[in-house]
Each structure stands twice: as C-alpha cells, then as structure tokens.
Amino acid sequence: MKVSVVSAGFFTSVQDLGRVGFRQSGISVGGALDPHAMRVANALIGNEDNAAGLEATMGNLRLRFEDQRIVAWCGGAFTVRIGRADLPPGHAGLVAQGEELMLSAPKTGSRAWLAISGGIDVPSVLGSRSTDFRGNFGGHQGRTLRDGDTLPLGESSVSPGRVAEMFGDRKIAEWTALSSWITTAQRARFLRVLPAPDWSLFTPEAQAALISQPFTVMLDSDRMGARLDGPDLERADASDLLSEAVAPGTLQVPPNGKPILLLGDCQTVGGYPKIAQVITVDLSIAAQLWPGDQVRFHEISLGEAQFLVREREEDFARFRVGLSLHKS
C-alpha cells in the first residue's frame, strides 16, 4: 500500500484538483497546474477525478511500488518506463509488485501528472491533498518530494480479476484519450486570451503588442506565475489600483511593463493591472511553459471561451462513459 521515491527528480509534489473555497482566507486554489490533465490521468485508471497524484516538473523521477498498481500520466513530452516497457501518455499501465517506474526529463514541455490507482493517501487538509507552497501544508509534509520518501497509497478500486480483464497478458492498455488532452506540450504555444478589466488602462501600442508579438518565459518563473519578457506593456494611465481578485490565467503587468502570467499557486488578490486573461482550456498549454519558451497570445470572444469550456466538459463526460464500457 505504499510507493517509495527512489529519486524525487527536480521538483515533484503531491497534487489533486486543488483547494477550493478558501480564497477568503487568502489560500490559493493550487493543485495540479493542469487540473484537466490530472483528472484525465485519473479517469484512465478508474480513480475519482480528484484523487491525488504526482506533478513532476522536468522529470527524473523514479518510483518503486510495494504492490501491484495501475498508473497513467499526461503532460509534456516525457519518456516513461515501467520496468523495460514504454508507457505512452494517456494509457493505463500495469506496475507489478516491486517494479520501478521511471519518468525521464522531457524533450518539450515541463510538467507531467501521474495518477496511481487508489490515489496518494496523504491526509486531506482543508478539503484537499494538494501541496500548498505558500503556506507549506498539505501534500507530503507540505513540501516537494525527496529521495527516500515513502507515500501511502489508497485502496485500489480495481480488483485483481478486473486487472486481468483490462490487461490480459499486456502491460499497457490500448484505450486512450484525445491527444490534445494527454500531450499538451506538443500543441503550438498560442494562448487564447480575453481582455481583462484593466485592458483599457493600457496604450493602444501595448494592446496591439500583446496580441501580435512573441513573449519569452524568463528564469524566475514558478508555480505562482510565468514571468514574460517581450515588448514593454505601457499604461496610458498610471494611477494606483486597489487589489482585487486574480485567478490562474491572469496576465498582470507590474510597473516594469513585463507581464506575469499567473498560474495555480498565484495569490488570491493582486494590485497590478490585469491586461488579459488566458482562457480556461488553454491553461493546459500554459502549465507546460518553461524558461526560454516563446509564447504568443491570440484574442477570442467570451462566448467562444465559455463554449470551449462547456464542450470540453461534455467531451470529458462522454470519455468517462466510454471508459466504463471498456472495462465492463
């Protein structure tokens, strides 16, 4: 009922779909930076959407399993092996008792989400098993994993008889999900945006630059936000603003004119002007950004953005139904 961390890799943490309902206490939602990838990985192996898994940044993760488990992952262009077998993204794989899983450094992209049947059974703190790095709580002792850590796993909901039905004599299951859901780093780094409440405070040049010029992700980027270098986004009016709600996907612009794209661990409120907001379905692409990457922004309408969320929810519901048919 445990998994050992042989090698913790660069920056690996326990995450679920996030901690919702505590913004009034200043607690970020956090969770998997691409919550959709995490729930797709969970769905592929029969977990609940919100089961806790691992978010591995830049890979080099090695795990040893104490008992037989089913695993699946989604995210950047990583190579994952169970023993000597390749586990492609978006496929369920069977890990035997005592076997090792190895997740290499990625060719492109930066993060992967690994789901393990039964989920990682760390205590739920304020309704979530996610690691909160601003308050250092939740997850595994409120921190990133280290070599030699041991993580408790939940009771796997898949019986041994079911495993035999699902895998036969194979190690990797055949069924999979939409490729745009499971290999997010291979999509073009175009982020679709909506104008945010402070859009009109910027000069027409800044507005035009945002949607026509490329931006480069800078070194001091993390789970709170990706700092971007590119044309200076100047304001037409430099009055001070009152802090108000921000969200993952908010593009805020500090006085130096270099935008910061907020990600899952962002503060709950911010006082920098918000020029634009990345649409929800493109947060999957934003979560793969890494220093040196180029990114472009493209404006769409609110109606389209909301349609895309609704469409993805409908597709995900159908995907879940399809999976349950596979397994019966």
Binding site: V20, S25, G26, D132, L242, E244, Q267, V269, K274, V278
Partner: protein
C-alpha cells in the same frame, strides 16, 4: 455597481466606485452576504477585497437564460437582481467583529520602528501610542494565507516599503507598507517595515476557519510586554 468578466470562469462585481474605508467595506460585506445566502448554482466561491467581490464559477454549470446569452450574461443578470433586491437592507446593521491584537514592540521584534519614527519626526514611544490608538479595518486577505491588509493607519505613520525586501520575516510580524499596515501570517519574504510582533496565530489550519481575520473585520492593537508575549505565545 458594475459587473465585468475576468476570463471565462470568473467575474468581478464592482460594488463601489471608490474606496472609503467604512462605507465601502460595509457595502461589500452586505453584498457578500446576499450572494452567499443566494447560493447560486454553478458559483464556486466569492473573494471580497476593498470595493469588489470576485465571483468564481463553472461556466459549464450555468444554464444560459436565453439562446443568445452566455453563462457570464446569465450569471451577471442574476447577481445584479440579487443585489438590487437586497439594496434595501440597512447597511448599518453590519457590525463586523472587533479583534484586539496584542503586539510586542520590543527591539528584538521591531526592526524598523526607529526608521518609521525618524520619518514621522516622532519618538518611537509616540509612534507606538498613535499606532495603538487607531482603529483599523481588514480591506482584504491575501499575499500569503491569512495575511490581512489593514486600512486606518494614521497618515503620519505611512512609510514607503523597503527598497530591498527581507528574505524572511517571522509569522506574526506587524508591519507598515506605504499607507497600509498588515500582519505577516506565515514566515515569508517581505518588504514592509516591521514594528512589532503578535503572539497570535494569524493562520492556523487546525482551525475550522484558518484565517483569524476576514475582509471587513475591525482591528485594534494593544501593546504588550516581552513577558506577556512569551506567556501568550505558549
């Protein structure tokens, strides 16, 4: 009142046009309570600050009212009508809780008290006296979990943020940043001028509501000795 989208899954309700400590916060609190009571399906959570309320929602769970409506329009109309209907409630009925925060201004905790005093042209004792006489209100909670931004700082005590932020400030540090004051809720980096420390835990996940203070709450500071700090900290 205006309602503006923040992307496809959030919106901002601008309850007031301008921030005026007492009236704005009471108006925001009244609106917050109305929206909490309404428990609109599809709304995930509410985040008040200064003059606004951030409303986070799931656009897939909000059924558009008409064929040409977006979830944003449908939800915006709904929020507008809830707040219009509750506008008649007396805002004077809002009586936010008053918290008395014990603060020790001992030199060991008050790294920047001398700097604040010098800028204000006052003695340190006079800064402490004026700081303790004022009544503050929590304008929002953020920065770190449970960190309260407070309005109500006497104007003469306003001190610009430090040019180089400190790498680590202890939890409980009471500090001045520009015209605002606040309390570091967890150990974190920070650029505000630290003038004392409270033994109270501003953020404690063991509590049902982890943040001690909420937006709109009223705060006063009470000076305590080093001994009292130790006994309260236990």
């Amino acid at each position: 009142m205006r309602i503006e989208p923040l992307g496809d899954s959030a919106l901002i309700v601008r309850v007031e046009d301008e921030f005026r400590a007492e009236t704005s916060l009471n108006a925001v609190l009244a609106a917050l309570r109305s929206l909490e009571r309404a428990a609109i399906p599809g709304v995930i959570e509410l985040a008040p600050a200064y003059t606004t309320i951030g409303v986070f929602f799931d656009p897939a769970r909000i059924e558009p009212a008409g064929p040409d409506d977006s979830p944003f329009e449908t939800l915006g109309t709904k929020i507008q009508s809830i707040l219009d209907a509750s506008a008649f409630e007396k805002r004077s009925e809002i009586e936010p809780p008053l918290h008395e925060i014990p603060v020790c201004y001992h030199g060991e905790f008050a790294f920047d008290l001398a700097e604040v005093a010098q800028r204000a042209g006052l003695t340190e004792a006079e800064v402490v006296r004026r700081y303790g006489e004022a009544v503050y209100r929590v304008t929002c909670v953020g920065f770190t979990p449970g960190f309260p931004y407070l309005s109500g700082l006497p104007a003469e005590l306003a001190t610009p943020r430090r040019v180089t932020p400190r790498k680590e400030i202890a939890a409980g540090s009471v500090a001045i940043g520009g015209a605002q004051t606040g309390i570091y809720s967890v150990k974190s980096p920070g650029g505000w001028n630290v003038i004392g420390r409270t033994p109270l835990r501003l953020f404690d996940m063991q509590r049902e509501r982890p943040a001690l203070l909420r937006t709109g709450d009223t705060v006063r500071f009470r000076g305590i000795s080093r001994e009292e700090f130790e006994s309260l900290a236990r």
